[in-house]
């Protein structure tokens, strides 16, 4: 028996060795030309082509500019804006921003402040670290601060909302001015305002909640300025200081909001489409799968796809004077609208990722964050399912076809704290901004070219 198994093992090992030797192949192009020309081994060469969408500057999506530090979602590095700017890139368009800020109460105060009977023994000021400047940077900006007349729900409020303020009685001193290039600006409040609100300011009951119930916050405007200044929401504070004791108490900002309006309609320079931050003016892109070249690609296997929306930053810079400051947006937001056909799959089914759905029919597409500010780029991971599945749907099967997945793709400026915040961060609303973005249209020269889907296909 031992002898038999030895033989058997030897044979099996030998047979296995013969089969495994087949891994030594080195394929080459030898043989590619064998056969009649009509049936030779050909094809398979990939082809990359740009497919331009139809463009329209009809997209409007007023952005969220309100934030409450105690309410989710917690948005880092949020800011609120105040001022007016006429950006040369926006044509005649004038953007006006009004900032709103409300403060958190305190559960204790320095004794000198808590026991102060006379408002004259105290001073009050808004301390606002600046984090954003858009407009003419030199010179001072006159600002006015008003009391809000009622508690404002700023949480996730959109930029077209507004809250009532007592604009007959400014809270700030009449000579309040700020220098927009300072890293910290202070706005002194009137003694009269302190006197009127002394009781509220000294109220530490209910861990400060009583203060918050009775103090509604401020509206900050700079109507005659030539720049919009942004203040850090997390670091803004209302500071009370005892004159003789030098004791001080800061009330940190709790809620902030920016109301943004467009005074004159902005218009893009010839050859460009305009994304206008703040007012939510975006770009609408549509790809027609029934028109060339997409109608010829229905059966073409897709190797790669990207959606590329270039920004002509050099043209933006060219339209900037020496004293004009304009930050480039560190991000964009692309929202795709699903076709109303009831059989259109959901966002999560299309992309295999949860958390992209925005409303009933919209999917927010993750972007390559590092592509900003030069471009809004939808990577292959996201763009390929869009086109591959759309091709599959529009391809006729048994005489019928379905519509493509999406009807429109809308692109908006959505500023970020940094461009390297990751693709997941590009799903979130952008920071309040007023900057314009110039997107080359179809008449643009080859570099950077118009918005396009770049598809690499391997024709059948």
């Amino acid at each position: 028996m031992f002898m038999r198994l030895s033989w058997l093992c030897a044979v099996l090992v030998g047979g296995a060795a013969l089969l495994s030797l087949s891994a030594c192949s080195d394929s080459s192009d030898v043989g590619l030309g064998v056969g009649p020309p009509s049936d030779s081994l050909q094809g398979g060469q990939p082809l990359t082509l740009d497919v331009s969408p139809s463009l329209a500057d009809t997209a409007r999506d007023v952005p969220i500019t309100g934030e409450n530090a105690r309410q989710p979602p917690n948005r880092d590095a949020w800011r609120f804006l105040a001022g007016t700017v006429n950006d040369p890139a926006s044509g005649p368009g004038v953007i006006e921003a009004e900032g709103y800020v409300d403060f958190a109460g305190r559960n204790s105060l320095p004794s000198a402040i808590a026991s102060a009977d006379d408002a004259d023994s105290l001073t009050a000021e808004l301390r606002l670290p600046t984090v954003y400047l858009h407009g003419i940077a030199d010179g001072e900006i006159s600002v006015e601060v008003y009391d809000l007349t009622e508690e404002a729900t700023m949480d996730s409020a959109r930029a077209d909302a507004s809250f009532e303020a007592d604009e007959m009685n400014p809270a700030s001193v009449s000579t309040a001015q700020i220098s927009p290039t300072d890293s910290l600006v202070t706005i002194e409040l009137r003694q009269n305002w302190i006197r009127q609100n002394l009781t509220v300011l000294q109220d530490t009951s209910d861990d400060g909640l009583s203060f918050e119930d009775n103090f509604s916050g401020f509206k900050i405007v700079a109507p005659n300025s030539e720049a919009v200044v942004g203040f850090s929401s997390s670091d803004a504070a209302l500071r009370l200081t005892h004159v003789s004791d030098t004791a001080s108490a800061d009330f940190p900002a709790l809620k902030t909001f920016t109301h943004i309006t467009e005074r004159n309609a902005a218009s893009a320079p010839t050859g460009y489409k305009l994304l206008q931050g703040g007012v939510g003016a975006g770009l609408t892109m549509e790809w027609d799968f029934d028109a060339p070249p997409l109608d010829t690609l229905r059966n073409a296997p897709l190797n790669r796809a990207e959606i590329f929306v270039p920004v002509d930053t050099s043209e933006l810079n060219r339209r900037t004077g020496p004293d004009f400051s304009r930050p480039l947006p560190s991000g964009f937001r692309v929202v795709a609208t699903r076709h109303p056909d009831p059989d259109t799959p959901s966002c999560s089914n299309i992309f295999g990722v949860l958390g992209l759905a925005t409303g009933n029919r919209a999917c927010t597409l993750p972007l390559v964050s590092s592509a900003a500010p030069a471009a809004a780029l939808v990577s292959n991971d996201i763009a390929r399912p869009i086109f591959a599945q759309s091709f599959r749907r529009v391809r006729e099967t048994n005489g019928t076809s379905d519509p493509p997945l999406f009807t429109t793709f809308r692109v908006f400026a959505a500023d970020r704290q940094s461009a390297d915040s990751g693709s997941r961060a590009t799903l979130q609303p952008g920071l309040p901004t007023t900057v314009p973005v110039l997107i080359p249209d179809q008449t643009a020269p080859e570099d950077p070219g118009p918005p396009r889907a770049t598809l690499t296909v391997t024709p059948l």
Binding site: L18, S22, G35, L41, P46, N380
Partner: protein, 466 residues
Amino acid sequence: MMVSPRPTFSTMRDGSMQVLSTQRFSLFTVLLAMTALLAMATVPTAQAQSNGEGTIYSRFGLGSLDGFSSSQSQAMGGGGYALRSLNYNPNANPALWSDQVYTRLSGGAGFQSISAEDGRGNSGQLTSGNVQALQFNFPLYERTLGVGLSFQPYSRTNYSAVRTGRAPVGPQKETEAEYEVNFSGSGGLQRLRGGLGYRISDALSVGATADLLFGIIESRRRTQWPDTQALRDVIVSDGVQLSGLTSTLGAHLALADVLASDDALSVGASVTLPAPLSGERYRTLDEDLARDTLSVQRGDVTLPWAGRLGVSYQPNARWSFTLDGLFEPWSTFSTSFSSSGGQTSPARFPVGGTRTLTDRWRLSTGAEVVPAGEDNLAGYFAQVAYRFGGYVEQMYVRPDGQTNLYEFAATAGVSLPTSLAGTRIDLNTTVGTRGTTSNTLVRDTFVGVSLHINFGERWFQRRKLR
């Protein structure tokens, strides 16, 4: 006068019987082992007992035809249509199955290396491994009526060729990536055969089989990106799935004392009937579970008949000689698959149309010597069988429609006796060339080795009393 096949190898005179259960254990063990070997070979390509890459000519017709009959005949040029042996049950002629004493299980695996060269001096190295056959035979009536079952490839498609290039990718025009277009073939037709061989008289035997042909022949074009994961591979497959029945009829005439005393002359012939196969061809995108079928078309093909004629001569117990011929009129191959030519339509079948097929013929000759003859007491190496042979073949494919292609090869092998009565292990080799480098064609120079086990034991027979 009855002419028995010579008990060439000591196993014939095995009067002592072994315990039946032990015999079964041995045979089942071998059966399981061979099944494992078969499974190992079929994992990479589900439709064929082949692994690796072979000749570009397997792209045409139904692929490379596999005419394996037995490991003995393979080492003797591949014919042996009239060669009788109690240690082998040649598949090519079912009449030879009448000469059975042992229940026999045979299987083998082979490896082939091909160096392909074209007219421009370019060359490529291709290797493949494959299971050659699994055969099971047993006598119903010893030396009178035998049964044969076998499973083996009928044809094999395993070509591979690569084209490389660079292509711009992404929205930035200057960004390029290297790509490879890999053209490959896989699969083939398999043949499941069952049949009988019957000795009508001392001199004449006949046999018949029922053959089920089935399988998938697939050509694949894969565009891939070796340097980046950012681009998805595209795999377009054109396949044809066929199945159908045919039959092989054989006859064998054995004569003794023809040229000398105690010599044996045999003449064998077999005919395989035309095989009508039906099935469908298809084109798909992607692979495995993500496959997307682009189109399907039903159709029929008819494979031509095949005729084989062989002569073998055994002047004494030491030597055997064979001379064989085969003819298959592939010019009569017909198909109802149309070539619609649409983007999503499958590629034409056969590739290039029927004009790429021509009649196949094959001439082979071989010899075997066993130095010990019938001397069971001779030394081990004297009991080894030494075989050699050669063949010339006009291939049935003619890719350019005008140039006939030929294959020339020399074969050799040794057959090693084992301690198991009726069991031998064979090691064969083939060296040859096929094709030409003219007219954009390719010349293959190939070297192959194969290992076979031919396991035989007596079953279902009464124990003899000593």
